[in-house]
């Protein structure tokens, strides 16, 4: 029974080659040599298997005692007795059957004898022939007796002769002899059978031997099953001392284990636990299982599944425990691994879903932003249609009232456009589309111009001042447009909330701030050759200030300090958010400090690269233009500007600007267009008469409460500023432009020579018409090769170059032209396959050793494209489609 249970268990386990529970190399050779490696086949093979009986270790004195005392022991004995009894019964049954057969045979024999006797009929006449047979023969006697009892008419020996004759006796003797013979024969057979029976009896007569054999077989079977099983079994007494152990650890000897407890044998983790467990089972009297990991010096780390059952004696007293341990280290390890994997899996799944959620949210946000941007864009297009139409309308003959209405309409449209531009800017920054461009610029001039611009539209009694410390470099590299945008935004914001006192900008160099040191290292390592400088820019005012509780949401989109402010001062609440984002995009930080009713200071810290002085200046910032064409040595290093209110004065007073000897047309050419516009509100005005302009301007403002107007060019900075004044914008009209151009024409003695390189017919027609309006003419080349040929022959002041052209594109053509300027010959062009007809005289041509300004015209306005233009030696670029405004700015920048 027990064996069966064991085999079942082994089958349930993993089907794999199980290594021995104990290490192979431990133990004596003798222990191993009889081990059957792979017992196969059915139980029949057991007979041939020689079982090594060395694995068992038992206290031989006490084990029989145990066997006699415990239930299990006695039941096993009972079992054996029963089996023996059964076999005895079986033997008896067999014997009985044998007896039955013999009896029947005897009866047959008797019957036969009777017949014989009857035949001879001895009954009366002859005496009993007793002496013939031995009286002592039991069988014979019995036979005789039976004969007497049973025979009624027994046969007599038939003798034909006459009674008592010689012949008669002779005959009788003969027949009797025959009978005697037969009888002897029978007797002999019976004796034989008897002997046989005796023999069989003998074979059944040794029950103990048989039992021993049976026991041996059972034990052999058990050994066979158990010897390779990773199971250790044992019995321990009440004190948990081992009395019996099977499959012990190979190196332990009998005296090491028997009579000792676990704690005495092993040391290390788990031993105590198993001891406690056994004791617990012993106390509770209930069999149970537990998994215990041992960490012993003897066999390292192994996990055992231990089954412990209490053992009772016949008096139902506990006398010890049986325990069985199975090594499950691998299984446990696997299980743990599985659990860990499952856990990991769960964690990963959770993370995944979290990530998906985040992605989803991000996508939603992106989509929302994209939608906002798209919508803004979609609104902008028709709106610019409306504004454009209105602008056209404003160039027509209108009476005063109509003009005012139209002006309101245009300025409102401009406000909405500005708002949309802000939103687009913001979404550009947020979506990471916005690229910064590095250009060289002069911080002093930027500050000056921002202030100048602000002063031009100032309607309050405010002093604007700029203060730049000496150590600020004259030229630095950064994205001047964005910086300007930030400054203008902050300044207009300051002006908006300041009613008296001053508003100013302060610039100074500071050491690298702590927030940037981590990130800046990377940047610095990239551009080690260039030195970078951190400039702190304070925009301060003496305005209404910002309450402390409003500071946190100051830079949030669409947020203003309070609803009250929004009503009073207007604005979208986007300006500061954009500033902050731009500053952060450039690697800086924008902060604010403020005191209610005392003023606020917005501070931004930005890193700049210091421009190397030997660089040829390809700066295209407008601010530079002033100095390029009106060299003012003071201006580049001037550290202080001040602009007093514009009211009542013509332009500005105080500061170095007043010293500029500008003729009216010069003003137009050199300063931002808003100045022009504020003067030239009507084409009928003669701009040369500044007095009259002033009157006109002032009068106009009184009447309409409007400020002078910024032009489209400075839209990003000035219109927000104008809007902050709540004023009405007046857009520059085309008539103004043309009238100015007319003037320019009269002033300019020499018509500049311009080359347009363009392959698209329509573009040529449009450009031609625009140039005509601006008062210029130009030559046309249809591709890069034609352009090079034209440049070789003629001296041009400006080249407008399409980038994308057949035969030779604009970028390549520009490169070739630049190479000519450097080397003085067209070899590079010739190498590139351009057919240049050389005449010796042209080798030393005079005209184009100076750098020829080349403006790219590109359909692609993305930053990389502009970078490409610059990289190929172009000076600037106009994005297509070319508008009158862009063209005008460009020509203004490069032709004066």
């Amino acid at each position: 029974m027990v064996c069966e249970m064991e085999t079942d268990q082994t089958e349930e386990m993993d089907i794999e080659v199980l290594s021995s529970m104990w290490p192979e190399d431990v133990g004596t050779q003798a222990d191993n040599q009889f081990n059957v490696e792979k017992p196969a086949g059915d139980s029949d093979t057991l007979k041939e298997v020689d079982i090594a009986e060395k694995r068992t270790m038992a206290d031989l004195k006490r084990l029989p005692e145990l066997m006699n005392n415990t239930d299990q022991g006695s039941s096993q004995l009972t079992n054996l007795v029963k089996q023996w009894e059964y076999m005895q019964d079986h033997a008896v049954k067999l014997l009985r059957e044998e007896l039955k057969i013999l009896t029947r045979q005897r009866e047959e024999a008797e019957a036969k004898e009777l017949k014989i006797i009857e035949e001879h009929n001895f009954e009366t006449q002859e005496p009993e022939n007793v002496p013939v047979l031995d009286d002592t023969s039991h069988l014979f006697r019995k036979f005789k007796h039976k004969k007497r009892d049973a025979l009624v008419g027994s046969k007599r020996v038939e003798i034909d002769e006459e009674f008592d004759t010689v012949a008669y006796w002779k005959q009788k003797a003969l027949s009797l002899e025959k009978m005697l013979e037969a009888s002897t024969e029978r007797e002999r057979r019976l004796i034989e059978k008897l002997n046989e029976s005796l023999k069989t009896m003998e074979s059944h007569s040794a029950p103990v031997e048989e039992l021993t054999q049976n026991l041996k077989r059972a034990e052999g079977f058990l050994h066979f099953i158990l010897q390779n099983a990773p199971i250790v079994m044992g019995h321990q007494d009440k004190d948990l001392r081992y009395l019996f152990i099977y499959n012990k650890f190979p190196t332990l000897r009998e005296q090491d284990i028997l009579g000792k407890t676990d704690v005495e044998i092993f040391h290390g983790g788990g031993v105590k636990e198993s001891e406690d467990f056994k004791r617990e089972v012993l106390e509770k009297g209930k069999a149970s299982k537990r998994e215990i990991t041992f960490e012993t010096d003897l066999f390292g780390s192994k996990t055992f599944l231990i089954y412990v059952e209490p053992v009772y004696n016949k008096a139902r007293e506990k006398i010890g425990i049986n325990y069985m341990g199975m090594e499950v280290t691998d299984q446990v390890r696997k299980r743990e691994k599985m659990a860990k994997l499952r856990e990991d899996n769960a964690v990963r799944k959770a993370m995944e879903s979290e990530l998906n959620k985040t992605i989803h949210i991000t996508e939603e946000t992106m989509r929302a932003k994209q939608m906002l941007a798209t919508m803004s864009h979609e609104i902008r297009s028709p709106l610019s249609g409306v504004v454009g139409m209105a602008e056209i309308l404003s160039t027509t003959k209108l009476d005063k009232e109509q003009r005012q209405l139209l002006n309101v309409m245009i300025s409102s449209g401009d406000l909405v456009l500005q708002l949309i531009n802000d939103i687009l800017d913001l979404s550009k920054v947020e979506s990471g589309v916005m690229r910064l461009e590095a250009t060289k610029f002069r911080p002093r001039e930027v500050v000056k111009h921002v202030l100048q611009t602000a002063a031009a539209s100032l309607k309050k009694d405010l002093t604007l001042e700029g203060n730049i410390t000496d150590e600020v470099p004259i030229e630095v590299v950064g994205d001047v447009l964005r910086i300007r945008q930030i400054l203008t935004n902050l300044i207009s914001n300051a002006i908006k909330f300041t009613h008296q006192g001053k508003v100013g900008i302060k610039l100074k160099v500071i050491s690298e701030p702590s927030f940037a040191s981590a990130g800046a290292e990377e940047q610095n390592s990239l551009t080690e050759t260039e030195t970078s400088v951190w400039i702190r820019c304070d925009v301060y005012d003496t305005g209404i200030g910002i309450p402390e509780n409003a500071l946190p949401c100051l830079f949030k989109k669409y947020m203003q300090a309070s609803a009250d402010h929004a009503r009073k001062y207007g604005g979208t609440g986007l300006g500061l958010a954009i500033c902050k984002q731009l500053v952060e995009l450039m690697g800086g930080q924008l902060t604010v400090t403020s005191q209610v009713n005392a003023g606020s200071t917005f501070t931004f810290i930005l890193p700049y690269k210091v421009a190397t002085s030997d660089d040829h200046s390809d700066d295209q910032d407008f601010s530079d233009m002033v100095d390029h064409h009106q060299p003012e040595p003071d201006d580049t290093t001037e550290g202080y500007f001040q602009f007093k209110p514009l009211l009542g004065s013509i332009y500005s007073n105080g500061g170095p600007v007043i010293g500029n000897n500008f003729l009216p047309h010069k003003v137009m050419l050199t300063s931002p267009l808003k100045l022009i516009n504020s003067f030239v509100t009507d084409s009928s005005n003669n701009t040369a008469q500044s007095e009259m302009v002033q009157v006109e301007n002032g009068g106009y403002m009184d009447e309409t409460c409007s400020g002078p107007c910024p032009s489209k060019e400075t839209e990003s900075c000035s219109s927000s500023q104008a809007s902050s004044e709540g004023g009405v914008l007046e857009m520059e009209s085309e008539l103004t432009v043309s009238s100015r151009v007319e003037e320019d024409k009269t002033e300019t003695s020499k018509q500049p020579k311009i080359l347009l390189v363009e392959d698209n017919k329509i573009n040529i027609v449009v450009a031609k018409s625009m140039m005509k309006q601006l008062g210029y003419t130009f030559d046309i080349a249809n591709n890069g090769v034609e352009a090079i040929t034209a440049i070789k022959d003629t001296s041009y002041d400006l080249v407008l170059m399409d980038v994308c052209m057949p035969v030779l594109d604009g970028l390549k053509a520009t490169r070739l032209i630049r190479s000519y300027e450097e080397s003085g010959n067209w070899d590079a062009a010739r190498e590139a396959g351009v057919d240049i007809k050389t005449s010796e005289s042209e080798q030393v041509c005079v005209h184009s050793i100076n750098r020829l300004p080349i403006i790219a015209m590109t359909a692609n306005t993305l930053a990389e494209s502009s970078e490409e233009c610059y990289a190929n030696g172009m000076d600037s670029f106009i994005s297509k489609p070319v508008t009158l405004q862009k063209l005008k700015e460009c020509l203004r920048q490069y032709l004066h």
Binding site: P382, G385, M389, N760, V765, S769, P806, K880, V882
Partner: protein, 160 residues
């Protein structure tokens, strides 16, 4: 009576232009064209648009020929044609034509023949729509002119 008729036609023109702007068929660049028209070139818009139509028709014809060729592989040429078309369309402010051309061009850059065929169809559709609209516009203008005997499109600069 005469004045009324002109006003009505003028309103028609404005409505037409406004709707074209709203649909995105035209953009601000078209206004640029109108700004360029003055006394010295009174038919400038009309002329430019006509040149545009001539050129574009040529380009579209070429594009169709290139695409019809089964063994065709000259996507580069298609790209060049489309560059032209994009350039001139954006110059006159034909916004929608330009946009679909850009899409067509990106399909051609990927050598995506089905995309190109679809692109061509869309471009042709937009082109014809634009042409019809312009035709309508010019028709109305001719009426205006017949009323006012003014130089062709001077009305835009000075409608009175």
């Amino acid at each position: 009576m005469l004045g009324l008729g002109v006003d009505r036609l003028q309103a028609d023109i404005n409505r037409l232009l406004t709707s074209l702007f709203h649909q995105g068929v035209l953009d601000e660049q078209f206004l640029q064209l109108q700004q360029l028209q003055d006394d010295t070139s009174p038919t400038f818009v009309y002329d430019v648009i006509n040149i545009y139509f001539d050129e574009s028709e040529k380009l579209l014809r070429n594009l169709r020929l290139l695409l019809m060729d089964r063994e065709f592989s000259d996507y580069k040429k298609i790209g060049l044609h489309l560059n032209q078309l994009v350039g001139s369309s954006s110059s006159i402010g034909a916004r929608r034509v330009r946009n679909v051309c850009v899409a067509f061009r990106s399909a051609s850059e990927l050598n995506n023949r089905p995309g190109c065929l679809r692109g061509l169809e869309v471009v042709e559709h937009e082109y014809h729509y634009l042409k019809n609209m312009m035709h309508e516009l010019f028709q109305v203008l001719i009426h205006v002119i017949s009323y006012t005997h003014n130089s062709l499109y001077n009305y835009l600069i000075d409608p009175t």
